[in-house]
Chain length 263, copies 2
DNA sequence: TAGATTGTTAATCGATTAACAATC
DNA sequence: TAGATTGTTAATCGATTAACAATC
C-alpha cells in the first residue's frame, strides 16, 4: 500500500484507480450527492462533515473516511464547499458523461418509468422505449414513441443507448437481456423478478419489489414485541430512525427523483 | 455466546431470538426462497447446499452458515428437503401471516404497482390504492378502486392494512408518511426520492431508480478499460457474473414476481 | 494565537471463506 | 462400511467507529 502525502485535492491514487471504491462507499456517495444538491438548492455554500453526515444519515467519521478516498476536497477548520464537492463527487461517480437509457418493456412499469421525469434531473436521458406488442408499438408515452423491440439493435445504435432498464416479465428477461448485452450495452438495471446471467464486464443491478416487502415482513414480525428499525435499500446506506428533526431536508425544492404526483 | 448441541431442527436460540439475523442474511434468505420455489416448481424435492448455493449465486459455505442460523434443517450426507426448508424459511421471514398492503399514490408508478400481479404470488395482498386527485379517486385500477387519501385512516382500518407502499412525489412523502405511521402501519416501502424520517419501531425501506442508475454509471465509467462486474440490489446478495450456464433457472415456470408483460 | 474541523490512524466489529469433524 | 454432505469452527477479510494529530 503506497503511502504518500496527499498534495491538495489530487485524487490520491490510493484506491481511486487501483481497485475501485468499496460498494458500500459507492452507495453512500449517491446519498451525499442528494444531500449536497439539497444544500445547494438552499444556497448553503459550505458544510462541515458533521452537517453533511447528519443530513445523509451516516456518522461524520464514515463520511470523512468516504470522502478522503476520493481526494482531499475539504479545508481543515472550515469544511467543504458544497458546489466544489458536488463537482468532485459527480466526476468520481461518472456522472459527467452522457448516459442514454433505453427502457425495454412498455408494460405498466415500463410506461410508468418512461413518464417519470426524475431521471432527467439526475443526468440520465431516456432515449428509447421498446416493446414487442403491436398494440403498443407506435404509441406515444411521455416524450417517447414506443419502438418495436424486434429492431432493438438498430434502435440502440440510432439512439446511442448505453444503459438499459429491463421492465419485463421473468419469462422474457434472460432472452432480452442477452440481446441487450449483444448490442453492446454494459449497464443494466433489471426489474424482472428472476436471476439473470450476464458476462463479465457487464454490470447488472436488480430491483425487486417483492424482495423488499419480504424484508419488511421479517422486521415487522420481529418488531412485534420490542421496537426495531430496519432500513437499507439498493445496497445503499441509511438515514432512518429517529433522526433529529432539525436537519430535515427542506421540503425538497428542486424535483428530486422518482414517482410523479398523482398525475 | 451460548454453545449448545443443537437438537434436531430446533431453532437453536443462538441468534434467532436474541438479536435477530444480520441484514445481509435476511437479504439472502429472500434469494434462497426464490430459488427453492423454482426447484419446487420443477418437482425437485431435495437439494444439496452446493446446488442451492449455485442457484442462488452464493458460496455453499455462506449458504450453510446462513441456514444454520435458523436451525438444523438439513440432513448430513443427504441435503435439504425443498418443501421443508421452504416452510422453515417462510416462517423465519414472517411470511406465514397475512400481509395487507396499501399503495399510497395512484400516479403512474402506483398504478403500475397496483396492476402488477406479482405481490399476490408472494403472499402479499394489495388491499387498497389511495390518491388525493378527484380525477383519479373512484377509478378502477387492476382489482381495486382508488380511495380518497383524505380517508386514509378509515381505509386502513377497514382493510386492516399493515404495510404501506409510498408511490408519491418527494414533496408529499414526509407528510403522508407521518400519517401512515400515525395510522399504525409499521412497515413502509418508499419510492419517493427523498430521505424520510420515521420513529423507532417503524421499518422503512427505500427504492430509488436514480440511485441505481448512478451506481451503474460508476461501474460503467470504471469498467471502460478492464472488465468489471457489479451487482447487489436491495441490500440483497448476488448471483451475477459468468455463472455456470447449466444451473440456469429453468425458464421460470410459475409467475415469479414483478413487472407484467407488455399488457 | 485560539478554535474548529479535516484527514488519517488504530481499534473494533461484523461478514465471508475454507476446512473439517460430525453424522447420515 | 464407504461416500456424501451438513453444521461449525477458525482464519481471513472488509467495514465502521473513535480518537487525535495536522492544519486551516
Amino acid at each position: 500500500m503506497v503511502r504518500r502525502a496527499s498534495h491538495e485535492g489530487e485524487p490520491s491514487v490510493s484506491l481511486s484507480e487501483g481497485k475501485g471504491l468499496p460498494p458500500a462507499v459507492v452507495a453512500r456517495l449517491t446519498v451525499y450527492l442528494r444531500a449536497l444538491n439539497s444544500f445547494l438548492a438552499d444556497d448553503v455554500d459550505r458544510v462541515s462533515s458533521d452537517a453533511l453526515a447528519e443530513a445523509s444519515g451516516v456518522s461524520s467519521s464514515t463520511l470523512r473516511k468516504d470522502l478522503s478516498q476520493l481526494g482531499s476536497y475539504g479545508t481543515r477548520g472550515v469544511g467543504y464547499e458544497v458546489e466544489n464537492l458536488l463537482t468532485h463527487l459527480s466526476v468520481a461517480m461518472g456522472l459527467t458523461r452522457d448516459w442514454r437509457v433505453a427502457i425495454v418493456g412498455a408494460g405498466n412499469l415500463g410506461r410508468a418509468l418512461a413518464r417519470y421525469g426524475g431521471f432527467e434531473t439526475r443526468g440520465f436521458d431516456v432515449v428509447a422505449l421498446l416493446d414487442t406488442d403491436p398494440q403498443i408499438i407506435g404509441n406515444e408515452i411521455g416524450w417517447l414513441r414506443v419502438s418495436d423491440a424486434a429492431n432493438l439493435e438498430a434502435v440502440f445504435e440510432r439512439t446511442r443507448t448505453n444503459m438499459a432498464v429491463l421492465a419485463l416479465p421473468a419469462s422474457a428477461a434472460q432472452f432480452v437481456c442477452d440481446r441487450v448485452v449483444a448490442a453492446g450495452v454494459r449497464s443494466i438495471l433489471s426489474f424482472a423478478p428472476t436471476i439473470l446471467q450476464v458476462p463479465p464486464g457487464v454490470t447488472l443491478r436488480k430491483v425487486d419489489m417483492a424482495t423488499e416487502l419480504q424484508i419488511l415482513a421479517y422486521h415487522a414480525q420481529r418488531g412485534e414485541s420490542g421496537g426495531e428499525t430496519g432500513q437499507p435499500s439498493a445496497g445503499a446506506p441509511e438515514a432512518v430512525d429517529v433522526a433529529p428533526a432539525d436537519i430535515q431536508p427542506p421540503a425538497d425544492t428542486r424535483p428530486a427523483d422518482m414517482p410523479p404526483p398523482a398525475d
